[in-house]
């Protein structure tokens, strides 16, 4: 199993969810996060005063899928979250040792 964690632009959330839904991925965790990558925030000028926005608002999507589906999910997220501009985000992929459904203690891919 793989855990796929994607940090994307907030306005891309609906498109990404739709893309995941289209390939049959319905379960995910969505968090409003703030952070920065290589772009390290940006400068804003308001009324002649310059100030630095260090932490940019982003959305983090987490989902765990069977190994065989991970590439497909990565492509769906990347394809729908891409605008071609700096700040589109990143996708991280982790190995998952096990999964347990709390209600009935199903294990492994059966718990997804």
């Amino acid at each position: 199993m793989k855990k796929i964690e994607a940090v994307i632009q907030p306005h891309k959330l609906e498109e990404v969810r739709e893309a995941l839904k289209n390939i049959g991925i319905d379960g995910m965790t969505i968090t409003e996060v703030r952070g920065h990558g290589r772009q390290k925030g940006h400068k804003e000028i308001y009324r002649g005063m310059e100030y630095h926005v260090d932490l940019l608002p982003k959305i983090k999507i987490e989902t765990v899928v069977a190994d065989s589906r991970s590439e497909e999910v990565i492509q769906a997220i990347a394809g729908s979250a891409r605008s071609g501009k700096i700040g589109d985000g990143k996708i991280f992929v982790f190995e998952v040792a096990d999964a347990v459904r709390i209600r009935n203690e199903d294990r492994g891919e059966g718990a997804l």
Binding site: P10, R47, G48, G87
Partner: protein, 777 residues
């Protein structure tokens, strides 16, 4: 069987069960029931509070039967909560465990050595006599902390019927305070049968000590959950209205410093109202029956001095209203409340007494209304009042992310419009079909008309209500880096003032969903949305011009070439007045009073020093310019509108001075009077020491295709605009567009300037920047 009988019966059953196990195990302790069990109020799954009285520490041998006794009770399904104490230990105050002392207020004998119990029964009242003030004070503190933990409101969508304000715990507090004060001066409200019945249901429904009236439980308990919840809130309101004055009374007797402060606050009393212990009392309650504006004055007094109504005052107002007392329900009477810094206190007083429903009949649609939304925590009416209250507390924030919104709040011109829009923004949630924002608009329109609110207020309030979801939606679903998003928002809001109002309304609306709804993430997104629209609207000042196609020819003659903003910031009546002025011999001017300030409109042939003349003439009279805008049309006529305050009340105290001011402005415009000479006669205003506002002068070459944008932030002072315009004119610059704004002592000036018909050269920028900074000081 009534709920009171049911819980008493359960208590009796447990008595029998406990006695039987006691008989069986013979522990060498005396058993007393305390807490709710002591009061014979035992709900199906409540803890069974037991006091195990001993003479001295138990030996290991004596402990075994006690452990066996407790084990058997647990095994029989009772949730026992026991404390083992000597009578002496019961008569001590235990820091951090006042609950034990409080639980002992309701003790009753169950089993074991009766003499030992009698000792406690004899000693405990003496202990209480000596400590009652201290215990009552601690109890009040605990109660206040509990109320604060739950937002000091009864209007939770999923309330905890025991712990939340207005819940059973508050009934217990009233009971304990009456025991401690040895009196019944604050009798509990009507029999709490309803709450008892609800709690019994919750325990049985979930088979555990569950006191949360969740959405699921609301549906399970009644076929009409909305009506049931209204009944719940009415019951909670009765209890809360009784417990708060009881806390006030007890606290007032305890803390001398607090009492001194409260006595001092009594000095704000007037011929109509007195203030005692932070609560407003009526001197002449009879006025409520005859004077329709008495309630307005009462709530304004409370809001002005940050006070609440006394319980007696609330009762009198309620009774007067029930007996048909008249209430002034027009805008003229409501507006003074809406502009006060603590208007929520007045609005809450109106709501609590039922007067708000008389002023805004549609309020009843959302009174105690539960909307099933997992993210919302409060009823719709409470959400509305919380939103206004959050806006008011914004002034005191020190959080840098929120400070930016606090600055916006201090800049807006129409706090009454913003609060009225908040008051009505969700009024459509009570019914109607379609999106609630449009239903709210449909209800708010006639409500504002009934109140005779001026047209400008009506249109602004309706605009805000109609668009109150827009910014939330943009910030979460649109690409904020896409210029089209800024253009779209800018187009929708039209003016900077409306953008500020809508941003603040969105801030308050999101923040009032629940205490943690306004996360730093949302604060950043909302601010970013504000910025892109602000940038678009200030840019548009220069770029988007009125296209005269399809207009009345005479109007087109006047309007062609003005920025589109002009049409959106002026009413039709104002535009027609400007048009008439433009047809007179130029220069022409118009001076009139607008609210607490004055407004002067000047139309002249475009000449670089026009603003220098007008601003200089006004400064010469000691006037302080608050706002200014100037635009040029295609006929090269300059239309300048300046709003100014008269800090020395010259025009008010000496009416002929208005004529002299008019004459002076015209003569400076015609070049017959030297502004510099005029200003020399006037004493230089004292500059504030260590100017708190840092001067900033920024140039932007990209904002416009043909002019340079200069944004200046500086400490405001009379004559500042004159000095800035004079500096620009003196450097050969032509002012194309100007937009001046002030917030408190801060001047925010935007100029679009050209030199020789082009953008400024870099060398001129450097030179000008230094000069402008100098002019600001």
């Amino acid at each position: 069987m009534s709920p009171v009988e049911q819980i008493a019966q359960r208590s009796d059953q447990v008595d029998a069960q406990v006695a039987s196990v006691f008989e069986q195990t013979q522990p060498r302790v005396t058993l007393a029931a305390v807490g709710g069990y002591g009061r014979r109020e035992l709900f199906p799954h409540s803890d069974v509070d037991l006091l195990l009285l001993i003479d001295s520490q138990l030996s290991a041998e004596e402990r075994e039967p006690v452990a066996e006794f407790l084990r058997l009770l647990w095994d029989s399904g009772l949730r026992v909560s026991q404390s083992v104490r000597t009578a002496a230990e019961c008569c001590e105050i235990h820091d951090g465990n006042l609950e034990l002392t409080i639980s002992l207020l309701d003790h009753r004998y169950l089993a074991g050595d009766r003499k030992r119990y009698d000792q406690l029964a004899e000693r405990f009242p003496k202990f209480l006599n000596a400590q009652r003030a201290d215990i009552a004070r601690h109890l009040c503190q605990m109660t206040r902390a509990r109320h604060a933990k739950y937002g000091t409101t009864i209007y939770h969508l999923e309330p905890n019927v025991k712990e939340h304000p207005g819940g059973l715990r508050d009934l217990h507090v009233l009971h304990w305070l009456s025991l401690l004060r040895n009196s019944m001066e604050a009798p509990p409200p009507a029999a709490p049968e309803f709450l008892f019945e609800t709690r019994i249901f919750l325990h049985n429904h979930s088979s555990r000590d569950n006191n949360l009236l969740s959405f699921d439980a609301q549906e399970a308990i009644s076929d009409a959950p909305a009506a049931f919840m209204r009944r719940y809130y009415r019951s909670a309101r009765d209890i809360f209205r009784t417990v708060v004055p009881a806390l006030d009374t007890n606290e007032a007797t305890g803390n001398s410093l607090l009492t001194t402060f409260r006595d001092w606050r009594g000095r704000v009393s007037t011929t109509e109202f007195t203030v005692a212990r932070e609560r407003v009392l009526l001197r002449e309650p009879g006025l409520l029956r005859t004077d329709p504006t008495a309630i307005s004055r009462l709530v304004q007094f409370a809001a002005r001095h940050q006070l609440q109504l006394a319980a007696d005052t609330e009762r009198r107002v309620r009774e007067a209203l029930e007996n048909g007392a008249p209430v002034a329900a027009d805008w003229e009477n409501l507006r003074p409340l809406l502009i006060l810094p603590h208007s929520t206190l007045g609005l809450r007083a109106l709501q609590e007494t039922g007067a708000l429903e008389r002023i805004l009949p549609d309020w009843k649609n959302i009174d105690c209304l539960v909307i099933r939304d997992f993210s919302h925590r409060y009823t719709v009416d409470e959400h509305t009042l919380q939103a206004i209250s959050i806006l008011e507390s914004l002034r005191e924030t020190t959080d840098p992310l929120r400070r930016r919104f606090a600055d916006l709040l201090s800049e807006i011109e129409q706090p009454d419009v913003l609060r009225m829009a908040l008051l009505l923004h969700d009024i459509g949630k009570g019914g109607g079909t379609g999106e609630h924002a449009s239903v709210s608009v449909q209800l708010a329109g006639p409500a504002l008309e009934r109140m005779h609110a001026p047209e400008a207020v009506r249109s602004a309030v309706l605009f805000l209500i109609e668009h109150h979801i827009d910014l939330s939606s943009v910030m979460s679903s649109r690409d904020l880096s896409d210029p089209a998003t800024g253009r779209d928002v800018g187009e929708r809001v039209g003016t900077i003032e409306r953008l500020k109002l809508l941003t603040l309304l969105t801030y308050a609306d999101i923040s009032a969903v629940h205490p943690n709804a306004m996360t730093p993430w949302r604060l950043e997104q909302l601010w970013a949305t504000y910025l892109i629209a602000y940038s678009e609207l200030t840019k548009e000042l220069d770029s988007e011009r009125i296209d005269p196609l399809g207009m009345r020819p005479d109007l087109a003659w006047f309007l062609e070439g003005f920025p589109k903003r002009y049409l959106r910031t002026h009413s039709e009546a104002e535009i027609l007045r400007h048009h008439t002025l433009a047809r007179q011999r130029l220069p022409a001017m118009d001076l009139f009073r607008a609210g607490g300030a004055y407004r002067i409109t000047v139309i002249s042939e475009d000449r670089p020093a026009l603003l220098v003349s007008v601003s200089g003439a006004l400064a010469g009279f000691g006037m302080n310019i608050l706002k200014a805008e100037a635009f040029v049309n295609a006929r090269q006529q300059l239309l300048a509108t300046l709003t100014f305050s008269d800090p020395h009340r010259t025009l008010e105290l000496n009416p002929p001075e208005a004529g002299r001011l008019r004459d002076t402005v015209l003569r400076t415009l015609e070049g017959k009077l030297d502004v510099a000479a005029l200003l020399k006669k006037r004493r230089q205003p004292a500059l504030p020491g260590n100017g708190r506002i840092q001067v900033s002068v920024a140039f932007n070459q990209k904002a416009s295709d043909r002019a340079t944008l200069i944004e200046i932030v500086a400490e405001d002072r009379p004559g500042l605009l004159y000095d800035l315009c004079n500096t620009l004119a003196g450097s050969g610059c032509n002012i194309e567009v100007v937009l001046i704004d002030t917030e408190a002592h801060k001047a925010l000036d935007v100029f679009y300037v050209t030199a020789g018909g082009k953008k400024l050269e870099p060398a001129l920028e450097v030179e000008l920047k230094e000069k402008l900074i100098g002019a600001c000081r």
